[in-house]
Symmetry: none
Subunit: 250 residues, 2 copies
């Protein structure tokens, strides 16, 4: 019995029973426990199951994964807080941009029932809003599988064809002095493209990202009009941004 076959059996068992034990599986598949443990570790790494002591559990979204769901768990209360505020800024009939940040993704749940037009380059966002009131326009171009989003030259050009009322964007780092910075060039390109086509640019960033500089600086602070952040943000820091004409929502 080889790994793919065991994998199939394990998945099926987990799916049926909700949770399984290592012993149980070893007995069922007629192999050693250490082998099962190794299988479970590998499968958990792929997000197919949830590993527990002594066994494994079914993970809700694992089969049809928007793997994004796991990543968003970090700082999730803060992110939800931010998104709730951001959602209040969106009115019926608005045309908005959303990029592919993990914070921005959580905005989806708060805008499901708004009748708005959305332009995005994020695949999880599109999936999330497929059956909603929101009319979605997807940016075309090269798919970046790691970020589950569309980036590149063609994507930027696509964005340039639209004009929106508001852009809701994430960023890796932001500082009052040096402006916006990112880990990757392509993400920065998309941020710029959307920002330049929007009447108002909203940065959704939890307080940990304030006054942090990442390696690639790509825009001055003047690119944005609003920062939406959480209540853990230092008031003195926020004042820095206000002085430079940025509206703070928190």
């Amino acid at each position: 019995m080889n790994f793919p076959n065991r994998k199939r059996i394990i998945l099926q068992t987990v799916e049926e029973k909700g949770s399984v034990e290592v012993k149980e599986l070893a007995e069922l598949i007629q192999t050693s426990e250490i082998t099962i443990r190794r299988d479970l570790t590998a499968m958990a790494a792929d997000g197919l199951i949830y590993r527990t002591h002594g066994g494994a559990m079914k993970v809700g979204l694992a089969i049809n994964p928007v793997q994004f769901a796991n990543k968003t768990a970090v700082n999730s209360e803060n992110k939800d807080y931010i998104c709730r505020l951001a959602a209040q800024e969106i009115n019926e009939g608005d045309i908005i941009f959303m990029d592919c940040g993990s914070t921005v993704f959580r905005l989806c749940q708060f805008i499901r029932n708004k009748r708005i037009q959305l332009i995005t380059n994020s695949l999880p966002v599109v999936n999330e809003l497929l059956d909603s009131e929101v009319k979605v326009n997807l940016v075309g171009g090269e798919v970046d599988s790691k970020r589950q989003a569309v980036h590149g030259l063609i994507a930027n050009e696509h964005v340039a064809r639209y004009r929106a009322h508001k852009a809701f964007l994430g960023v890796d780092g932001i500082s009052a002095q040096h402006g916006l910075s990112a880990h990757s060039e392509s993400e920065a390109g998309m941020t710029l493209a959307m920002a330049s086509q929007a009447d108002a640019v909203y940065m959704l960033c939890d307080s940990t990202k304030l006054e942090k500089d990442k390696y690639f600086h790509f825009a001055p602070l003047s690119l944005i009009q609003v920062i939406v952040t959480d209540q853990a943000a230092n008031p003195d820091v926020l004042e820095l941004y206000r002085e430079r004409g940025v509206r703070i929502v928190n």
Copy 2:
């Protein structure tokens, strides 16, 4: 016993049993294990089977082991047969179009390991191939939530910017006399856009769609070069298409 014959037997065995071992096949075909291994390697490279240590598995079982159980897609046997044939027409380095038909979607599992460039307007296809060897380019534009695909003017324009070697498309109806027909205008637009930008157009259609006319006729038969269909197709009907210069693969 030559390769094509062995291939046929191997495919049939894998299809029946789900998974097989090298030894088993060597015994069955009365040849050496090394030969079987070579056959399996070649077939796996074409995406016809999933290679495991010590044997091979059905592609579907290995790719999404669980969905398989509950998902009783219409005509799935025939569709897999068609897609397996279609996959063999795709070479490393090819640039291909795929549209959003349900048959075309099943092609995904057979091309996961091919190093090719794909341009598609189908969201399920993109999701399916996110973590694969395939480089995906997504067509941008209005998202049609019912069809889970991108359609419309902008989408067609996007397609027009690319040139591909082959297009793999679905269609609602096809007849030797009247050509291609569809249920919806927007889908027809996408089909036309892709077909006109491809060197060779492959229609993937199970035999039930042959000689069927749907309400919206949108292109003559000359638009396409190849029809890939299943073995239930009536030979006399196929002859009609051959007479009109269409290559038949089945």
